[in-house]
Symmetry: D2
Subunit: 135 residues, 4 copies
Amino acid sequence: MADTVFKHSLRVPYANIDKMGFVYYANYFVYFEMARAQMLRDVGLPYGELEDRGVMLPAVEAHCEYKKPARYDDLLTIQSVASLKGSRLRIDYEVVRDQELIATGYTEHVCMSSDGKVMKPIADLKKLINRCDNG
Amino acid sequence: MADTVFKHSLRVPYANIDKMGFVYYANYFVYFEMARAQMLRDVGLPYGELEDRGVMLPAVEAHCEYKKPARYDDLLTIQSVASLKGSRLRIDYEVVRDQELIATGYTEHVCMSSDGKVMKPIADLKKLINRCDNG
Amino acid sequence: MADTVFKHSLRVPYANIDKMGFVYYANYFVYFEMARAQMLRDVGLPYGELEDRGVMLPAVEAHCEYKKPARYDDLLTIQSVASLKGSRLRIDYEVVRDQELIATGYTEHVCMSSDGKVMKPIADLKKLINRCDNG
Amino acid sequence: MADTVFKHSLRVPYANIDKMGFVYYANYFVYFEMARAQMLRDVGLPYGELEDRGVMLPAVEAHCEYKKPARYDDLLTIQSVASLKGSRLRIDYEVVRDQELIATGYTEHVCMSSDGKVMKPIADLKKLINRCDNG
């Protein structure tokens, strides 16, 4: 019943910090991508291999809500869960520092062939979704 | 009746392009920030001056929908409109290449004092909102 | 006798500023790339077209010296000059704010075919070099 | 006799890859910064604490030579060694993938007080240098 939650941790580099001393807001989407890549690797479906097979997963929607600022050198954990929403792959993220919720967000992706055509979700993505459903 | 739409143009650098040949999705939020800064400058309220006066506008929410890929060296125009949503400043963006809609999105911001407290929207922001309402 | 100097201007976005309030040091290399692209465009040789013809110009060396900090919203001008150094294309940059020198640097590039082989500098690059020599 | 070499590993995110499929050249300087931060942390001198004490280490020079391209999802290790060069802190880096050398570089830094004055290297940096000298 409970979803399988994938986890990825990272330490915030100075490059990501703005003048306020906070992680600049666009960088959360890079963290989401890192978490997404780790998730795919964890189910034996590294994104690089998908691209080699001619399947790309461009983002068609991205969203983030910022709850607390993250700062330089913070150790952040991104928790992610995948689901299918029609023909879109949706991934929900929570960014956590210790027990504290820093940000939440999601991204939605379509499967695209290397000549730029939108495809049905490939069967292999089911692996990921199934692991999330049956966690 | 029609809203005042602020415009900002930029040319996509190679740094922003991913392996698919598209603008990497997180970069749109940097483009939104550039457009936002230009908008504030256009109403005589440069963000740097706001910060010098101890007022910051951190993002509390950010959203983007990707319609068409943008590519290296594209000349993109970001059109933006500001409004108030309770105590939040909301800005809506459209990213356009020639007549073609590339992406839409919005960001929401609160006014924060330099010691990190959320404040009511400062009076000066009304300038911006009024220009958008009465365009 | 004097070299032709190409100029490119940009306004520093908030995304590029670090916690010290300065442009984060790696971003200067992005500014160099923007200046380089503008230079190629100015001599009728846009980098995108080079890539379409199967010629890439990966950097093999990059260098920057930081003289004065640049800050948010600064209007920077990057002045660049191209030369050939053996089979390498070398570009020298000066980053200037008003009359003040902010940084200097250079990058060196080789011509690479789309299958990853290093090639001799293509004839078209001579256009660029000649304009720099005979400025 | 042998220097103490500090090591930091990272996996290349999609965000860092350009259209050629290579790590975009400016990103190496971000990797250098991550390695530098890890090095300072390893000797009990986290950079965040330095800044809290009013000591900053802005880069005054940065250099990189690119030997082989790094690609998406590569696991890179950055090896770094610190030394003093007059009043400058110099750090040399090697970026390695498996046994293969991908890039080499260095950065030079001065100690700066929070009001922007260049200072003599703080005594605590000796810890780092000594560990490098007596490895």
